[in-house]
Symmetry: C7
Subunit: 74 residues, 7 copies
Amino acid sequence: MAVKVLDESVGKIVLIKLKGGKTIRGNLQGFDQHMNLLVEQSEEILEEGKTNSLGTIVVRGDNVVIISPPRSGS
Amino acid sequence: MAVKVLDESVGKIVLIKLKGGKTIRGNLQGFDQHMNLLVEQSEEILEEGKTNSLGTIVVRGDNVVIISPPRSGS
Amino acid sequence: MAVKVLDESVGKIVLIKLKGGKTIRGNLQGFDQHMNLLVEQSEEILEEGKTNSLGTIVVRGDNVVIISPPRSGS
Amino acid sequence: MAVKVLDESVGKIVLIKLKGGKTIRGNLQGFDQHMNLLVEQSEEILEEGKTNSLGTIVVRGDNVVIISPPRSGS
Amino acid sequence: MAVKVLDESVGKIVLIKLKGGKTIRGNLQGFDQHMNLLVEQSEEILEEGKTNSLGTIVVRGDNVVIISPPRSGS
Amino acid sequence: MAVKVLDESVGKIVLIKLKGGKTIRGNLQGFDQHMNLLVEQSEEILEEGKTNSLGTIVVRGDNVVIISPPRSGS
Amino acid sequence: MAVKVLDESVGKIVLIKLKGGKTIRGNLQGFDQHMNLLVEQSEEILEEGKTNSLGTIVVRGDNVVIISPPRSGS
């Protein structure tokens, strides 16, 4: 279920909300059953629309709250 | 038990309360044994009745506190 | 042990205290080995005796601190 | 070891300290390997010697810090 | 390793530091693989050298940070 | 997936963000399935570009939030 | 990997950073797969270079953030 949606999101831009409040946007390259994520061209989204480029990152799954493909128009 | 209720809620609007205080409302599309959730047309419910549209999201189950189908009349 | 008491509480009103301080009261419909709970006609008990109706809810077990059948006279 | 002491405490008054600072006193009726506890005639011990009667409760084991049979003379 | 040291400490006075800052001293009577501890004649060590007698206690292992046999001369 | 990227990062400089806010930079020498990391010539990155040299360290995986190879130009 | 480095550190002085901010230095005598540690002649490193002698301690692994052999010259 979640796996199918994440599978379909590989190669696309996703938004990731982490515990502690960080929000990250980037190109999902892969994931595993723990929701460990591989994200390329990632950036942290700061307040007031600022971003902080992070490049390629591995996110440890236990930090993930929400993953979403960005909506058209957003 | 919980599985049965969640099964019956697939395709319907549910309210999800997360650790840390976030409340999300959206159309439940699926779930797994960890309570990982797939929710479409989701929105975060902010104070004073405001909402923040989130679109399709995957919620990692360990963040979930309460899931409820909205009551008629609410 | 706990299972037996919870079994006997199915169909009855229980009080549930959650991590973070929330208190919920409702009709216990079911539970599983993780203490995931299905509760109907539930309401959050707020300060000063106010309540906030929640309807049917699934509570993820790892949030539970204490479950109690309400005492007669309370 | 812990099991033996808890076994011997069944049917007796125990003090239970929980994460977050709550202290509960009551008659231990049972427990399992997760330290889930069944306690009857329980009461929360508040500051200044006040108590808040809780009746029969199930305590989810992961909240437990310390369990002790009260000492004679206390 | 840790097991061997804990084995050798059974019947002796140990210091136990818990998450959240509590420090407990008492006679270690037993332990298991989760570091659940059985401690007799235990006391909580408060600030300024004051102590609060706790008697026999079971400590749930996930609260333990450090266990040490007290050094001679301390 | 994450494993492949981490494999390719062995012998290279990575940035590691930990729960609690610490950021560490160093030469990744190895990792395991828990994301336990072995990092050489590591340093903690403090505010205002200051660093605190840590040398060789083992990082316990459950503290890891994000691992990234530093981007060229950063 | 981490195991190899920890193996090589047995009998040597290591620095251990714990969740919550404690830093401990001592002679590593052993460890297990949970990173439970046995440390002799240990001392807590306080602010301003002060130390608090702890003697022999068992550290429960889930509290560990970073373990490092001290560098020459530090």
